[in-house]
Amino acid sequence: MSTRFGINRSTAPLLVAEGLVKRYGGLTALAGVDLAIRAGELVGLVGPNGSGKTTLFDCLTGMTVLDEGRVSYEGADITRARPHRIGRLGIARTFQRIRVYEAMTTLDNVMLSRAWSDNELPGVLGRPSGETTERATELLALLGIAEQRNELAGSLSWGQQRLLELAMVLMPDPELILLDEATSGVNPGLIHVIKERIHSLNREDRKTILMIEHNVEVIADLCERVIVLDHGVKIADGPVDAVFRDPTVVEAYLGREEIVE
């Protein structure tokens, strides 16, 4: 029943953020950002270095406490929720700096990322179920790193670790996936694989995805909508073609070059 090109999306916003403000001492990382992601969307989030993209992810996922503003997911307020609560609601993310469990095997990394629920105590004291092992093995195969299942995650190449993180994100079958530079530091051959995966996750598995990406080509190929942050302010939000022609956006990127020189 996969509708590869079928546009059959709900228009109700899945994730809503209003007036997000985050300050670090004198530095304002987010200066009142509003954002709404509808179920089924694949949205790009771009902006120069230090524009607040990762801070925004941290605030959406409870990893950083907001100074002002409100975040809601499926209508429920998650502004002050701790990260594991947010994770259990169905939001998963990857990290700009890869966060795999280096001294554990690749397979164990994925198995430990399964969906957890509350009051699981007696079960947690036992071994993982056969189902968990099976699903984790399947995901490793899907991402093409099944051969490394018994290797320690820390011994994988950077690109393989990116793929592993993707497998870990998929393990609990989340609804909303936040990808923080899924292709950065990855060789061109792998970039293609990762792009394909993201595309089919959105089109076939109907996952809602918000992705931070430096590679504008990747955004142009995958996303219909893109959001641009600059100095903690949302300066554009709309269809990819229109946004990348927007003079404010162009200037924001040129501004970065001025600093370099």
């Binding site: 994770g87 259990r88 998963a92 957890w116 036992g126």
Partner: protein
Amino acid sequence: MTPGLSPTAVEDHTGRRRWLLAMPVAVLAMLPALTLFEAGERWVNTSTLFSLTQMLMLVTLASNWNFISGLTGYVDFGHAAFFGLGAYATGILMTKAGWPFFATLGVGAAVAAVAAVLVGRATMHLKGPYFSIAMLGTFAAMREIVRVWRPLTGGGPGMTLPPYLNRPLFYYLALAQAVLIAMLYQWLRRSQFGAMMVGIRENEPGAEMRGINTLAVKLSAFAFAAASTGLVGSMWAYQNTFIDPDIVFSDARTIEMALASVLGGLGTIAGPIVGSAILYWLRDFLWAGFLRSHLVLEGLILIAVVLAMPRGIMGLIGNRSAIDPRRLFARRTRR
């Protein structure tokens, strides 16, 4: 897939390991019988039993230390505080309230566990060396509180417990605890809870984002390790018949636990056991042979060993769970 890593091979391996554990335990369990015979006493007398008891207590203590420090990565430089709480719980209840020894054991463990949860809630949001320093401070503070709170604790001069010289009893208690703790930790390590603990050590923010209630996991692990250490403290106090703040809250005790764990292999279950046995007899040997310089020699030997094989004996024989202790601090102070 490497043939050595196939699931069946792993099962075979653990089957062999079970024997490796069962054999020495059986031998240790039968040793006290030798003291009953004149011929046997030449080999094992009550003084040997006393030494073995001390060694087994170190096995349990090091296992507890490794459970919290080696598995969750929260390196506890003040773990002896829980030993002290257990010792004083038993001391106070026996001398001031006239409780029988066995009744005080549970209280000693409970007091240590509650203290661990209270202290942990305040200190376990600190990372790497900051947690370690906070625990060292907590430990020193507890010692001074015990010293000052004279009406309850007897203060600096300490307190004398009702003497009870029954070496086989303490020996068997220490043996039972060491074996039970080793089995329990082995089971937990292989459970999903154990994987969560290691996940916290390897990447706590990642684990939390992936739905693991990291605070609950690390507090439970900490409370459990503390309870077991409190239990050793209780037994030690009764066996020693005398406690004062400095012999009970001794920083050397924490160092011993850490050294034994690292020597055997931090992050493994067998490591602290092997490490404790070696450390104990190495110390005994050095003490007997080089009375003047034994501490210097011990220090030098241990420094050399840790530099040469940071992943300990278990790491040397290929146990992949063994980790280099330097990793725990290096990663967390960077960035």
